[in-house]
Symmetry: C2
Subunit: 300 residues, 2 copies
């Protein structure tokens, strides 16, 4: 890390265990350059998995997805490398607007999962694992229907569908975006109450909910009502943000799971985080960068 | 965390992803109470493994143990829950001094491993995994001999042997202890050079080397030469510490992998850590605890 003084703090160590003084490294990680500029990092590499299987499943509710997640984690452990929750609305947007996508499952289920299992042992092990996981889901009735990608091409197609969900929202008009996380167990309640919150702010607004279920992290975007005026809808941005973020906070959640604070969420962080936390962050900032020259105006 | 002001910093969140400002939590973790007193924590629980297998293996060298570790990790991944390296000297000390222990392997190999595999899938899976791991070790010649615990009692006996290594040193006279870590790949070179370093400080001193190989963390203790005067040997404590710690540092290692700094290693940390790091730690300390009332005299 290059510090405001021009000095270099070098912590490029390859240790798994080190208890020598304060953990400065994690203070710089995620500080968005406001304490110093990270110019190098040590990475741990893992071998490429020997087997990888991708499946698409349909379910009746986020609650079923949560229970199924617990079962899948129990069966596959760290081999469960993706568990992506996808609502019906983003799925339909993608199938409508992105050329070349195919509907993975027929039937009329409101929630979907893209599941990936990776095995360091063998291709056969990955295949057995994903079959065990899906069988457990189907046998318990948590999963309504499921399909395992029959080829690398189909696996790629499932992932393409997931990757296009964000772009597929654009033709549907204005979108008010959120990058929230809540405890994994609170995902169903957040989704249920989130729909009410969004409806209250904008009648007919369409919740586009998808995300990394295993991380408790949802890309919770709200598309404008069909036929609404885009500008008028986007004028609701701060009101919708506040409503959704208040809901996330009520679950002990985060208003920035992945993307950071920057300047967009700075005032909100300062207004809503515990004053003690903001005070400590400001003391760190003042101690490291008393002249305030590092990425000024960001984070705090 | 209760702060020096009496205020409480509450970060009891159950989130897997959160990017809202500075990571204060990891600053308090490992600060040994010098920034505030941690009074509560959130823990993530994992289900008890469905299967667990313990094995004891003999090898010709730490280099063979390192190569075998890579193979075992590749095969068992996160199911590899222990990979404890044990030198011949601590093994013999334990068999000599601790009542009720049995030699796990005959033959005359200089290095040993206690290996544990845990499976969240099934008991059979754990059994298959440990057999695969040991077969890979034996087939490649990295492992000279190995035995899988045939019962829970035998598994407990293997662990008891490991757990008693520290106590078994006491009847052998004075011991100069180190809690070092190095990059996992540097373990063999550290052990080879460590023996020379110890011999140079005290001719005939006996290296008692054991530890968590997968963590790069060795309990690297040096017992006095046979028949030496204990007090005279222990007078070498600072010289031996410096020699071993210098060696660990030369590999980018840590002089405190597990146990922290306290007051014992404070002066050494301040003298040997990069001045920039010490300066940053002192700025954090001054920012959080300007009156210096939290665990004074410790860490920095």
């Amino acid at each position: 890390v290059v510090l405001p003084t021009g000095e270099v703090f070098d912590d490029l160590r390859k240790l798994k265990k080190d208890n020598t003084g304060y953990d400065l490294k994690n203070l710089f990680v995620g500080a968005e350059g406001t304490l110093g500029i990270v110019t190098a990092a040590v990475l741990k590499l893992f071998p490429k998995p020997k087997g990888r299987e991708v499946a698409f499943a349909g379910l009746s509710s986020p609650q079923a997805a949560l229970e199924f997640f617990g079962r899948a984690e129990e069966l596959a452990g760290n081999s469960l490398t993706a568990f992506e929750l996808i609502g019906r609305t983003p799925l339909e947007f993608a199938l409508k607007h992105i050329p070349g996508l195919t509907r993975p499952l027929q039937g009329d289920l409101p929630w979907y999962l893209l599941i990936e299992v990776s095995s360091g042992r063998s291709a056969e092990d990955a295949k057995n694992l994903i079959e065990q996981v899906l069988t457990a889901g189907l046998d318990t009735g948590l999963v309504g229907d499921a399909v395992i990608a029959a080829s690398l091409a189909q696996a790629a197609a499932f992932w393409k569908l997931r990757d296009e969900l964000s772009d597929a929202q654009k033709p549907e008009g204005g979108s008010i975006k959120h990058d929230i996380s809540v405890p994994v167990a609170s995902i169903p309640a957040f989704i249920e109450q989130g729909a009410q919150v969004a409806e209250k702010v904008s009648k007919g607004a369409r919740v586009v909910c998808f995300g990394h279920m295993g991380d408790g992290n949802l890309h919770y975007n709200i598309s404008q009502p069909v036929g609404a005026d885009k500008e008028a809808y986007l004028a609701l941005y701060p009101v919708m943000n506040k409503a959704v973020h208040d809901l996330a906070r009520s679950f002990g959640g985060s208003i920035s799971a992945e993307h950071g604070i920057g300047q967009l969420k700075r005032d909100e962080l300062i207004a809503t985080a515990p004053p003690v936390a903001i005070d400590l962050m400001r003391r760190v900032k003042a101690a490291f960068d008393p002249a305030g020259i590092m990425n000024p105006g960001k984070v705090i």
